[in-house]
């Protein structure tokens, strides 16, 4: 049994994301695999979701930025399983990234962010940004 290219595994949802991506952008698909090959080889470190690590349920989660000129940016959402193994849960486009901001602000204003930890964390970060801006 070889472990080559087996340290990185995909959930079914992530494979479905790849199939959609294959129809939209072959260059981005190739870049995703290039990055995941580097992750498998231990020469790429995902960006941790620092602000949520202390909550427990998102511990060891991270993201990898996928940027290809002329193509929408994507994020590979990764879970560190330890001992060099990683699990990919999603490969998502962020071309609609600006749509997330109204979602966040409306959620904070209207209390629609159901997870209290996410809500308090987002509120704390927004307050910090406002202090930086106003200071």
């Amino acid at each position: 049994v070889t472990l080559r290219f087996a340290r990185v595994t995909f959930r079914d949802d992530a494979v479905a994301d790849l199939r959609r991506l294959a129809e939209r952008s072959r260059p981005t698909l190739l870049e995703v695999f290039r990055l995941l090959k580097a992750l498998d080889a231990g020469v790429l470190v995902p960006v941790p979701l620092h602000d949520y690590a202390k909550t427990g349920d998102l511990t060891e989660r991270g993201k990898i930025v996928v940027g290809v000129e002329g193509e929408p940016e994507h994020r590979i959402v990764v879970r560190d399983l330890g001992k060099g193994a990683f699990e990919i849960s999603q490969v998502i486009a962020v071309e609609d990234r600006t749509a997330d901001l109204p979602y966040l602000l409306a959620g904070l204003r209207l209390g629609r962010l159901e997870d209290p930890i996410s809500r308090s964390d987002a509120q704390r970060r927004v307050a910090r940004i406002r202090r930086l801006r106003d200071g």
Partner: protein, 50 residues
């Protein structure tokens, strides 16, 4: 709101959105896993040459 603040808020929003999606996906995880090598084969990608 200045552009710098807007960008910072986008970063916050992105992490919140990703966190929300992680929870949704965790809830419907069926436990099936595909290795990087198997996925590359499905998409006709030669990882050795990449």
């Amino acid at each position: 709101m200045c552009y710098e603040t807007f960008r910072l808020l986008l970063d916050v929003a992105e992490d919140v959105a990703i966190a929300q999606r992680i929870r949704e996906h965790d809830a419907k995880d069926n436990g099936n896993r595909t290795t990087l090598g198997e996925a590359a084969t499905e998409f006709g990608i030669d990882l050795e040459a990449l």
